[in-house]
Symmetry: D2
Subunit: 146 residues, 4 copies
C-alpha cells in the first residue's frame, strides 16, 4: 500500500497541471484513489465555484491513478473518454475526488469517480463521473533520465 501511495504521489507531483493546481493525494488503496484540491481564485468560475474543467481534471487524474495502480509495471492509464454530471455547486473550501475502479481489463478499464465538497461543515457530492481508460507505456523512466 505504501508503494501505491508513493507511486500516486510521484505521478501527481510531476511538473505540469496536477501539481500546478495543488493536487494532494489523500488516500490510495487497491483500485481506489482519493485526491483533494484546495480552493484558489484561479480555479473558480464566475459564480465563485470550482470551474467544471477543474472538477473534471481532478476526476480525470483520480481515475487515471486508480486504474494505473492495477496495471502491470511500466504501464499507465490514459483516458479514452470521461463523462461527468455536475450535480451541485462546488462551492466549498476544497473538492475531493474519490475514484473506484469498476472494471480492470487487459485493454480497457472503467472507473467511477464521485466528487465532494464541503457545505456547512458537511460533505456534499457535487459531481458524478465515469471514465474509460486504456493502458499505454509509462513515460517516467525517460522523463527522469538526465
Amino acid at each position: 500500500m505504501d508503494k501505491l501511495k508513493e507511486l500516486a504521489d510521484f505521478v501527481t507531483s510531476q511538473p505540469g497541471y496536477t501539481s500546478a493546481v495543488g493536487t494532494e493525494v489523500v488516500h490510495v488503496a487497491k483500485g481506489e484513489v482519493h485526491l483533494r484540491l484546495a480552493r484558489r481564485p484561479d480555479l473558480l468560475q464566475f459564480h465563485g465555484f470550482f470551474h467544471g474543467g477543474v472538477v473534471a481534471g481532478l476526476a480525470d487524474h483520480a481515475a487515471g491513478a486508480a486504474a494505473s495502480l492495477l496495471m502491470p509495471p511500466g504501464k499507465i492509464a490514459v483516458t479514452v473518454e470521461l463523462k461527468i454530471n455536475f450535480m451541485a455547486p462546488a462551492s466549498g473550501p476544497w473538492i475531493l475526488a474519490r475514484a473506484e475502479v469498476l472494471q480492470s481489463g487487459a485493454t480497457i478499464s472503467v472507473v467511477k469517480v464521485e466528487v465532494f465538497t464541503e457545505v456547512d461543515g458537511a460533505e456534499r457530492r457535487c459531481a458524478f463521473c465515469t471514465a474509460t481508460m486504456r493502458a499505454v507505456d509509462a513515460p517516467f523512466q525517460r522523463a527522469k533520465a538526465p
Copy 2:
C-alpha cells in the same frame, strides 16, 4: 455579432480559471464559439500534452458561451453534464475548441464541441465533446455593481 463577441470576451475575462489559463475568444457567431488556449507548462500532463482537465475545461467554457449567447438577456448556461472523448494527444502549441449548439431549448441546450491542436503545421482533431446545459440567472449584474 460584435455584441456577442463582447459578451463572450467579458465572461471569459472575468477573474478566475478561464482568464488564469489564458483563454482567448477567437470566433463568435449565432450558436458558435471558438476558444483558443496556448501551451504553457502548467497546463500539461506527464507526456507533455495538454491535460485532459484543461481540454475538458476549454470545451466546457466554449459550450457554455455558445449556449448562453442564444439565451434571453440575464440568463447564462451552466453545465448539467459533459462527455468528452480524447482521440489524439493534444500535443501542439495550442488547442482550439469549436462549440456548436445542436439544440437550444427553454430548459435544456445541447452543444457539440470539437477540440483541435496543431501537428506538423496542420490542424488535427484531438477531442470530441457533447455537453448538456441549462439556463440560470447570470451573476454579472451583481458582480459589476460597485
Copy 3:
C-alpha cells in the same frame, strides 16, 4: 411503497416496447427501481448476448421509473441523455437493472443504473449507466380515458 410498485407496474405494462420485451418490475423503493428481463432470441446480438440497445433500454426505463417516483403527481421523467458502459457480456438467462436516483431536482434528476446478469450461478455486473432526466406532464390520464 405498495403505491410506488403499483405505479411502476402500471407504467411498465403500458402497451409498447417495455411490455413487449417482457420487462418485470422486481423492486421499488424511494429513489430505487429494479427491473428484470428474461433472455429471448429476439433480444440478442450476434454473439448470443443481450443486445446493447436492449440493455440500454432496460437501464433507461429503470432510470425513468426511479426518477418519476420522486416527482410530484402528474409528472413523469423523460430522458435527456443516457451514458452506458458495457463491461461484460450480458450472457446470462436474464438481465437485472438496478436504478438509484443520485439527485432529484425541480428541473433535473440524475440516476445511476447498474445492470447485472447471471454467470455460473452468480450475479455479475455487465453494464454501468448514468442518465439525466427531466420532468414533463404524464400522459396517462388521457391514455386511461375510454
Copy 4:
C-alpha cells in the same frame, strides 16, 4: 462498396434483436452506415414515440457496423460505451441513424451517430450519440457453419 453493403446487410439480418425489430441498411460507405427502422407499436414508449432503448439500439448497431467496416477481416466492433442525447421526440413514421466514424484506431474507434425522424414531411434530428468501440474476433464463421 457493394461488399461493404453486403457485409452490413449480413450482420444486420442475423437472427436476433436487429432483425427482429426490422432494421434496414439504407447506406454504406467507408466509415459511414445509415440504418432505418419503421414505426411499430412494440417499439414505442408511453407517449407514442420510439422508445429510448430502441433509438439507442439503432444508434449502437449503426456505430458498430460503421466501425467494423474499417477493421481488418475477421474483426468486428463491440461497444465499450455509448452516450446519447435525446433532443426531440422520435415521433415520426421511422427513425434513421447516420453513423460516421470519427477515429479508427488499432484498439479504439470513436463513432458519431445522429438519429433523425420525420416531422411534417421534413427530417428532424431527434438524438445525438457518440460511441466508443473496440475490435474483437467476429463470430460469424462459427455462426454460419452447419
